[in-house]
């Protein structure tokens, strides 16, 4: 072993399979959504929405990977396992992706800090929207302060998640 970082260097003339190229991001986002089936009986919304975090990470890391409609199937899956009303993440994630497209079209120069800022806005929109949808679909008077801590550490967790995404991405593109 010369350098552990060279472990995944592609062999000459070989390409990763299509399943690996296109399936990996989708599967990681779905696994992120599925973290709610861990045996934690939460008394308040403590768990960050990992599905959303992974979606944002992939979108900002690899802008060419997905079109905006990918938020529909992934959001629907998230709704099925998260306990939110069906259609909630479906709507919010897609609108967020369209919004990111719009922002990106106007930004000339984009780096890590701008990515984090975009992700912050996206998390605020999705958490607020999720809270509002939970409230109007029979949730009664859910206080907004209930989702604030979750929002905060979701934003703080973004750099870590995007790093892990980049690590998976390196494995993904190298056969």
């Amino acid at each position: 072993m010369i350098d552990p970082h060279l472990h995944h260097v592609p062999r000459l003339g070989r390409h990763p399979s299509r399943v690996r190229l296109h399936g990996t991001p989708v599967i990681t986002v779905m696994l992120g959504s599925l973290l709610t089936s861990l045996p934690i009986i939460a008394q308040s919304p403590i768990m960050p929405p990992f599905g959303l975090l992974l979606l944002l990470s992939w979108r900002l890391l690899r802008p060419e990977l997905w079109r905006a409609w990918v938020g529909l199937p992934l959001g629907l899956f998230d709704d099925m396992v998260s306990g939110q009303p069906i259609g909630s993440a479906m709507f919010l994630w897609t609108v967020t992706l369209i919004g990111i497209d719009a922002i990106e079209y106007r930004l000339v120069w984009r780096s890590y800090r701008q990515d984090w800022l975009i992700a912050t806005l996206a998390v605020i929109v999705c958490a607020t929207g999720g809270w509002f949808f939970a409230r109007i679909t029979g949730g009664g008077s859910v206080r907004f302060s209930l989702v604030l801590p979750q929002m905060l550490w979701t934003i703080l967790l973004f750099p870590f998640v995007v790093r892990q995404c980049a690590r998976i991405d390196r494995w993904r593109v190298m056969a």
Partner: protein, 278 residues
């Protein structure tokens, strides 16, 4: 990093159309999503068929993980118990001696009760219990408070059935799927339970606050009758819950509202009991 070129299709007509079509699909889909939410306003348990597949698929994972970690959640209690083992031992001994007398009294009272009931020809038909199961997961990233129960309609669980633990009330069944069901926890903001004070029958209503506590409003006029330490049990009014299931203990009274903490912590209870609708 400069803007990636992929979002600008250039003069390629096909790429332009493809990009435009993708936005049409996305916007239409988002509108459909919004429509589904609007439907959920009027029918919160609708589309539960969609959840069935997900719930059934994730159940084995949750059950396996649950059996692995069930000891972990009480580790802090065990450590705390070691920390003050000596003084606790003395206190517990005194408690046991005090309780022994009470148990003897209670046995006598129970016997007297049976005798009096026989005199009155009252018959207790207490076959209310459906089954015992475990809570295996919860909606930990959502603002709503649902927990998933490892038993469903094939085991006889029906929508609306009360769920309780030995310590007290946990919630009621919200949606059932063949092998699992969603429990609307006592602390969910839409879960309203009619309660009464155990000592003197003052009626009240308990509503969840979504953060692990409940809000208690007395149904009597005048000033707030509750004070910290009051024990609340279900009153049995309105159906659903059997009377005299312990619900919560009041921790703070503020203005017309009292705040309470549920006696059964769903994260701690080992198994829960599903009961028939009263």
């Amino acid at each position: 990093m400069a803007r990636p070129p992929s979002r600008r299709p250039g003069i390629n007509r096909r790429a332009q159309y493809s990009l435009f079509a993708s936005y049409v699909v996305a916007v239409t889909g988002a509108a459909v999503g919004l429509l589904l939410v609007v439907i959920a306003i009027f029918d919160p348990t609708g589309f539960s068929a969609l959840r069935i597949a997900a719930a059934e698929a994730t159940r084995p994972v949750s059950v396996t993980l649950k059996s692995m970690v069930s000891g972990v959640s009480s580790v802090d209690e065990v450590l705390a118990a070691y920390w003050r083992a000596g003084s606790q031992n003395v206190a517990l001994r005194r408690q046991v001696e005090a309780d022994r007398n009470r148990i003897i009294e209670a046995k006598a009272v129970a016997q007297e009760n049976i005798r009096l009931k026989k005199l009155l020809k009252l018959v207790d038909a207490d076959s209310s219990q459906v089954l015992t199961a475990r809570l295996i997961a919860s909606s930990s990233s959502s603002a709503r408070r649902f927990a998933r129960l490892n038993a469903g309609s094939w085991q006889g669980v029906r929508q609306g059935m009360p769920v309780r633990a030995p310590e007290g009330l946990v919630g009621r069944i919200h949606i059932t799927t063949p092998n699992s069901s969603d429990v609307l926890l006592l602390t969910d903001t839409s879960n309203i339970v009619p309660v009464r004070r155990a000592s003197d029958n003052i009626p009240a209503i308990s509503t969840g606050l979504g953060d692990g506590s409940v809000e208690i409003r007395a149904l009597t006029a005048g000033r707030n009758p509750f004070k910290p330490g009051d024990l609340l049990v279900t009153s049995g009014i309105g159906g659903v819950y059997q009377p005299n299931i312990p619900v919560a203990v009041v921790v703070r009274a503020q203005g017309e509202i009292a705040y309470g903490v549920p006696l059964a912590n769903p994260a701690r209870v080992d198994a829960v009991v599903v009961e028939r609708i009263f």
